[in-house]
Symmetry: C2
Subunit: 277 residues, 2 copies
């Protein structure tokens, strides 16, 4: 596996890779969720490029950029093992040079849910993903369903901005106890981890109700709310039952919906979701 | 020369082109200025792709999108003659599909000059050029110095958004009488054409003064203003003496500057510029 830093090193390395090229963008501190993307890319593509970059413009000033966990040697070993050919680990000097002033924005689908609580987040996400797409020029790019709204935003941006790139969204990978894998899980102590299980358990209860015929959006939301609020250490931010493509909040009977949520457990903000159809 | 319409047709055609690929984006109704870009691309690159698309998002509602001149058969013949291998002529259904909601913006350098008079123009320009870059994935892209601010905006966007594309800015091509070539010159009657010569003549006087040692920004601007205002049919919008990279307006002595201007002649808005250094 080749490790490159600058845009020039990347461009040189890419010229030697057979196509199709699969691309896996990450912020590092990898877990089985990321590795499932790299493995899928490796199965589907002749070459795989991954990136590791904790993008500052998608963190608000009060968020955890400074403390975001890092372990590059471990990340590199995991990516190589998963079949990655080139890993790009740019510096902020490479990504945001002096005088930087260009942004990619996506409008409607960034407004609700995470966008409503983290108003500058998706401008940072769409900009960095566009930059990574521009530099890597992949044929396919792999994202996790864990960040459900991000996947919708990136699909919309890819179509709107005429990228000839297929976006592949891969299923959430969970711990054996059901907790959705996240680099931020490392912030949780044992008690908090236990309380955090209420997210996936709430979603599972809603899914079971849906499979039993429950179609009312409010009832489905309430099942999740009740399970999370049964834990003392949780502080629920939102539970949404929304259209899976437009992310518009639904009322009344639903045939297809994305149930998604954000919950603080201590200082740690966790998200999870399930697609019901 | 291959003519393609959809993104899929373009992607298929591109796969067969040897690199480096040079790219010449146009709005059609081509003149010698455009053709100089295509010829330069043809000299410098193994393959040349051109696009023809009068991008609606860079025209304000009161501007001339509806009447913008068109002659696709003539444009195609001229591009083929200049060595273009693939011409992409997308429809608005291809470029702005239903639900479109993504934009590329460049901040500081879009604010003065044309940006101040046409506040939505550069958002349209940077978005369409990004889309064209994403679809064509060229190695080099060719723009005219005639649209001086556009060239600055595109260079900034290309660097900021990590495009591995070299931006080549080619000199203004002029009629024998000095009028800068523009598709909009077709709107001018003989009298207006005569009055429009004051733009290039004013710039030429400023250049001569600069070469004779005049360094004061105000004095240089005033030379151009006086020449344009000497014509009855002209209505001067602005004359600027600005930093060639940041486009900040300059005061006092200048060693390097972009003198640029916009003038209405009848209903037709003309621009021209000269780089003094």
């Amino acid at each position: 596996m080749k490790h490159v830093t600058t845009l020039e090193e990347l461009t040189t390395a890419l010229a030697e890779l057979p196509r199709p090229i699969g691309f896996v963008p990450t912020m590092g501190f990898l877990h089985e969720g990321h590795i499932s993307l790299a493995r899928r890319a490796s199965e589907e593509c002749a070459s795989v490029v991954a990136s590791i970059y904790a993008n500052p413009t998608q963190f608000a000033p009060d968020e955890d950029l400074e403390t975001y966990p890092r372990d590059i040697p471990r990340d590199k070993a995991m990516l190589e093992e998963a079949g990655v050919d080139v890993v790009w680990i740019p510096t902020t000097e490479v990504m945001y040079p002096a005088g930087y002033q260009s942004w990619v924005t996506v409008e409607d689908v960034t407004k609700p849910l995470e966008g409503a609580r983290r108003p500058t987040h998706f401008k940072g996400v769409s900009t960095i993903v566009a930059k990574l797409f521009n530099a890597v020029r992949p044929d396919k790019a792999y994202f996790g369903q864990k960040d459900a709204q991000q996947a919708v935003v990136i699909k919309r941006m890819t179509q709107d901005l005429s990228y000839p790139i297929e976006i592949v969204v891969c299923p959430i990978v969970r711990e054996p106890d059901g907790l959705a894998m996240s680099s931020r899980n490392t912030y949780l102590n044992a008690e908090q981890h236990q309380a955090a299980l209420s997210l996936s358990q709430g979603l599972k209860l809603a899914q079971a109700a849906f499979e039993d015929g429950e179609r009312d959006a409010n009832a489905l939301r309430q099942i999740v709310i009740d399970r999370v609020n049964a834990e003392e250490l949780t502080d629920l931010q939102y539970v949404s039952c929304a259209h899976p493509d437009t992310l518009e909040e639904l009322e009344g009977d639903v045939n297809r919906c994305l149930i998604s949520m954000a919950v603080f457990v201590g200082e740690t903000r966790l998200i999870d979701n399930v697609l019901l159809e």
